[in-house]
Amino acid sequence: MSIKVYLVDDHRLFLSGVRAELDSDFRIVGAAYDVDTAIDEIRALRPAVVLVDVHMPDGGGIAVVEGVTETNPDVKFLALSVSDQAEDVIAMIRAGARGYVTKTIEPDDLADAIRRIDAGDAVFSPRLAGFVLDAFAGAIPSDDDPELDQLTSREKDVLRLIARGFAYKQVARKLNISIKTVETHVSSVLRKLQLSNRHELARWASKRRIV
C-alpha cells in the first residue's frame, strides 16, 4: 500500500509540480494553500506524511505542524522550503517536523525522503546538517542535561558527510558503519535539536536571520 501524503504550500504552481512528480509513487490524499484548511483536512484525512512549506501567511508551516501535532501526534512532517533562513528551519524542526529539504531537491531524492520520514527516520539535507553543526558548535554551557546539549563526535562525523553532499548510504560506507547506524545517529541529532534547551541554539538562529 502506498504511503498517504498530504501537501501544504501557498505557492500553487509549485504545489502542482510536486503533486505531478509524486503522483505515481504515493497516494496524494489532498493539498492545501493555507494554514487553516491544511490543519482541518489533515485532521480529517490522517495522511502518514505531510510535506509542508515553511513560509506561508498566517503563521506558516510552524502553525500547521503545531496545530496538527496537538491532536494527531502520529502525523509526520517534512519541511520543504525555498527559504534558507536558519531561524525558520530550526523552528520548524523544533515544532516537530522530522526533516527539512530545499525545494531544489531532485524528485527521486524527495520520494526517498518521504519514505524515510514514513519509516520514522529523520531527513537532513546538507543545508540542515550545516545549520545543526553550526548551532551546536562552541563550548558547552553546564546544564542539567549535557547529553542533550552536545553532539557526539560520531554524530558530527555523520553530519559533516551529509553537509558535504553524501547520501546516507555513502556516509555509511565512508564511516564503515551500517545505514541503520547512520539513521540512528541522525534521529538522535534530531531529538537533540528538538529537545535541547541550549541557549546558543536560539541565539545562533537569531544571529543568522538571513543566510
Binding site: 550545516g130 559533516r160 553537509a163
Partner: protein
C-alpha cells in the same frame, strides 16, 4: 480658472478653516466675494483709529456663527473688489474729516502697508519674476503687483519720515533699511515657493534615479535571464538559469551581498560558487559552518576552492556539486565534492594535472594542505585545509 460671479450673500459667518484670528475677516471676505487679505488689511487700518478695527472685529465675532464651509469662496470679480476698495477709502477719509483720526501719518501708513502687503501676497498675484519675464501674465495681476509695491513703498517712506521726526534720525537711512525689510517681507513668499520647488524637484530627481537604478538592475539581471529562459529548450539549463537568478535576486533584495568588497570567507565562497554555477550550468550546494575573515591565506583558499569547483564542473559529468566550509577554532576546511566519474590520480591527463597542481601550489604557498580523494566511477572530493 473660469471666473464665476459670486452672488452677494449676507450670510455673515466666521470661517473655521484658513483663518488668522477667529475667522471673522475670512467670513466677511467670503460674503463679499473678495480676498480675505484685503478685509484683514481693512481691519488693521481701522485698528489705528482708536482701536475701531478691534471693536468691529469683536462685534462681528459676536454677531456671526461659525460656518464649516467646504472651502473659502473663490473671489474673482475685480470690479467688485475695486468698488469695495473705493468705498472703504471714502469711509476712511470720512472718519478723518470728522476728526476721528488720531494721527494722519499713522492711519495712512498702516493703510498703505497693510493693503500693499495684501496686494503682494494675493495668491493670484503673478510674482515679481513672472510679471517681469512673462508677457502673458494678465494685466490685472501686473496692476495689482504695481499697486502693492507702490503702497508698500509709500507706507515705508511715510513711516520712515514719521520715525525720523520723532527720533531725529536720517530719513534716508531709515527708508533704505525699511525698504530692504519690506522687500524681504514682500518677496519672501515667492523666494520660499521657489526654494520649495527646487527641493521638490530634487527629491523627484532622486526618486527618478532610484527607479532608474532598479530598472537597470532588473534589466541586467532578471530580464536577461527571462529572455535566456524563453530561448532555451533545455529544461536543465532553464532550471539552472532560474536558480542562479533567484539567488542573485535574493542577495540583491535582502542585502546579503556585500556592497563594498567581500570580507568573509563564506561570502567569497558563495560568490565563487555562483560564478561557476552560471559559467558551467551546474548547481552547487553551498553549506557553511562558522566563518572567518578574508586574509592572505584564506584568499588563497577561496581561489583554490574556486579552481576545484571549476574542475568538478568540467570533468565530473555530474548534475550537482557540493561545497562545504567549516571553521572550527583556528582551523579552516573546505570540501569540494562531486559524485561524478572520478579518476585515478596516477593516470591523470596532463591538462588536468596542471589544474590540480595549481590548487596544490596555491595552498602550499600559504602553508595549507590539500587532499584529493577520487575513486573512478564514484566521484571526487578535494579537501583544502588551513591550520595555524
Amino acid at each position: 480658472m473660469q471666473p464665476t460671479a459670486t452672488a452677494w450673500s449676507l450670510d455673515l459667518h466666521r470661517r473655521r478653516s484658513d483663518r488668522v484670528v477667529a475667522g471673522v475677516a475670512g467670513g466677511i471676505a467670503d460674503s463679499l466675494g473678495v480676498r480675505d487679505g484685503y478685509v484683514r488689511a481693512a481691519f488693521v487700518t481701522l485698528l489705528t483709529i482708536w482701536g475701531l478695527g478691534g471693536l468691529l472685529y469683536l462685534l462681528f465675532w459676536l454677531a456671526t456663527y461659525e460656518k464649516v464651509e467646504d472651502r473659502p469662496n473663490d473671489p474673482v470679480e475685480n470690479i467688485r473688489a475695486i468698488g469695495l476698495g473705493i468705498s472703504f477709502t471714502g469711509l476712511l477719509f470720512l472718519l478723518g474729516a470728522v476728526g476721528l483720526w488720531p494721527s494722519a501719518v499713522v492711519v495712512l501708513t498702516a493703510a498703505a502697508l497693510s493693503f500693499g502687503t495684501a496686494a503682494l501676497t494675493d495668491p493670484s498675484s503673478p510674482g515679481p519674476f513672472a510679471a517681469l519675464m512673462n508677457p502673458e501674465v494678465e494685466k490685472v495681476g501686473k496692476a495689482r503687483l504695481v499697486l502693492g509695491i507702490g503702497l508698500l513703498a509709500g507706507g515705508i517712506i511715510m513711516f520712515s519720515a514719521a520715525i525720523g521726526q520723532v527720533f531725529e534720525l536720517s530719513v534716508v537711512f531709515l527708508a533704505v533699511f525699511l525698504t530692504g525689510l519690506g522687500v524681504f517681507v514682500a518677496f519672501g513668499p515667492w523666494v520660499r515657493r521657489l526654494l520649495g520647488d527646487l527641493s521638490a524637484e530634487r527629491s523627484e530627481r532622486i526618486r527618478q534615479e532610484e527607479r532608474a537604478e532598479v530598472a537597470a538592475h532588473l534589466h541586467d539581471s532578471v530580464l536577461q535571464t527571462l529572455a535566456l529562459i524563453q530561448r532555451s529548450d533545455d529544461p536543465q539549463r532553464m532550471a539552472m538559469l532560474a536558480r542562479h537568478q533567484e539567488s542573485e535576486l535574493r542577495d540583491w533584495l535582502y542585502g546579503t551581498a556585500p556592497l563594498d568588497g567581500v570580507d568573509l570567507v563564506s561570502t567569497a565562497l558563495k560568490q565563487a560558487a555562483a560564478r561557476v554555477e552560471s559559467d558551467f550550468q551546474i548547481p552547487i550546494d553551498v553549506v557553511t559552518v562558522g566563518d572567518v575573515a578574508i586574509d592572505e591565506r584564506t584568499r588563497a583558499l577561496v581561489f583554490a576552492a574556486a579552481e576545484a569547483m571549476v574542475n568538478a564542473a568540467k570533468h565530473s559529468e555530474v548534475d550537482r556539486i557540493s561545497l562545504y566550509l567549516e571553521v572550527e577554532g583556528d582551523e579552516v576546511q573546505v570540501y569540494v565534492t562531486d559524485q561524478g566519474r572520478g579518476f585515478d590520480l596516477e593516470q591523470v591527463p596532463s591538462d588536468r594535472k596542471g589544474i590540480t597542481e595549481s590548487i596544490r601550489a596555491r595552498m602550499e604557498k600559504v602553508g595549507g594542505e590539500v587532499a584529493i580523494d577520487s575513486i573512478a566511477g564514484e566521484g571526487t572530493e578535494v579537501m583544502l585545509k588551513l591550520a595555524p
